[in-house]
Assembly symmetry: C3
Homo-oligomer: 132 residues x 3
């Protein structure tokens, strides 16, 4: 399992980690199988979405911000990051991408994004490739 | 890896792909393992939900529509499908189903659904079965 | 594949199943691989989130309750649990956790939670460990 270190710079952002995950797949030597991208944090997530227009990421973050208010008098957790925990559950902290011919098999417009919801922070992503 | 071709007919719909995925599992020859269902698009997703009353799918789509407005002056992406991108991240574009005794192991009421959020379009679903 | 039986006690709650999943990993004998946690129900889900302050779970459930109204005149499904079906799709009914050195590889603050959205009920969680 490879551990990729990241530095996020905003409270909420989507960082493109496609190239780093692809390098882990190449190093694994696996030709056919699956690649797991796992985020070992509870106020972050991982998603796959459009890799071309950065406005898509802004809009996805905006939708999450609208659906999950940053402040809510009903929140009981004292650290002030309840919204980030909820977004982590909605987006998910794990993703699986197929591996074919020793490469990540993604659609043309897909990239893999680390989702920071409570930054800026130092973060990790774990990548594991299974197959033969 | 098998590629299943789909034709969607509405802007938003949930298409039952359980039988097509089950056939891919049967063809794989795998008896015990996992089946990955991967959607290579950024305005669609895949989910597992009730396979009996079609009203459940209507209600799930309605909840998504309510939580993610189709139009929002804050959207910056110029193609008008930002809501579809956000729904793709919320629902997810990949699912894993266990395989046991050479068959998909689903709960009694579970079906696998391709989720179209920006149709109608031609779409693909990739199915990969791992195990022995 | 192991089947874990659960009893939920509220309409909506998050039950810590980390220890039960860890035991299934230990019994599997797998040292390196992945562990799939699969919920065979359509009004429940599984997520990974903070394992320390129980208020985090309350806040995550509160966010879901706010984003997905329990009652909505637009719901068509007659059983009154459309919100639970929608939450199941948003949270997801399957999760994958890496296995390393014969143990679940989770972040320091991560626990695995069964999410009940239409309880109280008897429920099952299926755990499958793949690897070598």
């Amino acid at each position: 399992m490879e551990r990729i270190e990241l530095r996020t710079h905003q409270r909420a952002e989507m960082l493109d980690i496609t190239a780093a995950v692809a390098r882990a797949v190449a190093r694994s030597g696996v030709r056919t199988g699956i690649c797991q991208v796992f985020v070992p944090h509870t106020t972050a997530g991982v998603t796959i979405n459009e890799n071309t227009d950065p406005a898509v990421r802004q809009d996805v973050l905006h939708v999450l911000e609208s659906a999950v208010p940053l402040l809510d008098p009903a929140y009981q957790h004292a650290e002030g990051n309840s919204a980030a925990h909820a977004k982590s559950t909605l987006v998910g902290c794990s993703h699986i991408v197929p591996v074919e011919e020793a490469r990540l098999a993604l659609g043309t417009w897909q990239g893999i994004y680390f989702c920071e919801f409570d930054g800026p922070r130092h973060r990790e992503v774990w990548v594991q490739v299974i197959g033969s």
